[in-house]
């Protein structure tokens, strides 16, 4: 809050502290929505510019990160609409086509990806943006279920169920696409 107060009082340079603190979180969430790192970087920059311009509207009733992730989510969705990219829905069979393509690409790079961390990261990329986002917010965004509910505009119970299901689907992806690799590694 002290940094925010300084920025609001005209100390623009203090905003760089907030950018450095949250850039990885915002960039990771953005990457759950957009396909390339270039696009993710463009959208993430846009998020921080929007957050700066709207900083006076931040009341401090919730965490700054919760407020920032709300802006991130809406900015990603707006970007996808503008680019007319397809948001892969949960039940869309194309998710599995994409997953298969990712899997094929990964088999060629198995040597580079033989680690548990990479395996989980790649499995997350196979999920729908909604599933990947909720997992990222919960495990890396330091957000509680109530805060995630605020970000996504849903009820906390609905978020809890979605998180359970997202982890279930992640487990399925790992079983389907990585069981062989895991056996190779260990």
């Amino acid at each position: 809050m002290d940094i925010i107060a300084r920025v609001l009082n005209g100390d623009q340079q203090s905003y760089s502290i907030l950018v450095q603190r949250y850039q990885s979180f915002v960039f990771t969430i953005t990457l759950r929505y957009v396909k390339t790192r270039e696009d993710a970087e463009e959208v993430s920059q846009d998020v921080f510019v929007k957050a700066y311009r709207s900083l006076a509207d931040f009341k401090g009733t919730a965490k700054f990160s919760t407020w920032l992730y709300t802006i991130t989510t809406t900015t990603c969705i707006t970007f996808l609409r503008k680019k007319k990219l397809e948001i892969h829905s949960l039940d869309n069979e194309r998710v599995f086509e994409v997953a298969d393509n990712v899997d094929s690409g990964m088999r060629a790079n198995q040597i580079e990806q033989k680690s548990k961390v990479n395996m989980v990261n790649e499995a997350i990329k196979m999920l729908s943006p909604d599933d990947a986002q909720i997992i990222t917010l919960f495990y890396k965004g330091e957000q509680t279920l109530d805060e995630i509910a605020l970000i996504l505009g849903k009820e906390p119970n609905a978020v809890k169920v979605q998180l359970h299901r997202a982890r279930g689907r992640l487990k399925e992806k790992m079983q389907k696409h990585f069981s062989e690799e895991v056996k190779d590694i260990y």
Binding site: D57, Y139, H164, S179
Partner: protein, 182 residues
């Protein structure tokens, strides 16, 4: 670097969703004390629960290991260069006058109540028992054409619709803003 990992969880077939939900709540620390004791007992005594618990715990621990993606080295500099062009916008509450919104709302509500009172006043209650209409009005004798041909009536109705849409838009925008602020 070689990770120590139990791969059994990848081979276990999917089990009952209800068990998974209870176990996830237990793992996430969301269970009540009573539920926690019950789940702990089930894990200790039931092999199926124990296997499922270890399976989910593996996924949970794996997710905790996931690393965040890093943007380019110039990212902060790029953002700072961009925001240098802008000023912080004044807080929304400073330029939205809630009195105006309330005024429009009261006007709209008064119009509706007025029409209702006028409409109810036109009903002939003496024919309420007439089997032709449960409202006490002989609907077959109502001249709808005359009612809706009045330019004044059409104008008032159009105004009501526009005001209604305007208020709905303000309400949804405010709700959305509050959600973002929270």
């Amino acid at each position: 670097m070689k990770f120590m990992m139990n791969t059994n969880f990848l081979d276990t077939p999917a089990g009952d969703e209800g068990i998974e939900v209870r176990l996830w709540e237990y793992i996430d620390g969301l269970s009540s004390n009573e539920e926690k004791s019950v789940v702990e007992k089930l894990i200790a005594e039931n092999a199926g629960w124990r296997a499922k618990y270890h399976e989910l715990l593996q996924v949970h621990q794996s997710l905790n290991l996931v690393e965040l993606e890093e943007p380019s080295m110039r990212f902060t500099k790029n953002v700072m260069e961009q925001i240098a062009k802008y000023q912080i916008a004044p807080a929304t509450k400073t330029y939205i006058n809630s009195k105006i919104i309330w005024g429009i709302g009261i006007f709209f509500l008064t119009m509706i109540v007025g029409f209702l009172i006028y409409g109810i006043g036109q009903i002939d209650w003496t024919v309420a028992g007439d089997s032709k209409s449960t409202l006490g009005v002989d609907l077959s004798k109502v001249d709808y054409g005359q009612m809706f041909n009045s330019n004044l009536m059409n104008g008032v109705m159009m105004l009501n619709v526009v005001l209604g849409l305007f208020l709905l838009d303000r309400y949804l925008a405010n709700k959305n803003r509050k959600l973002k602020d929270a």
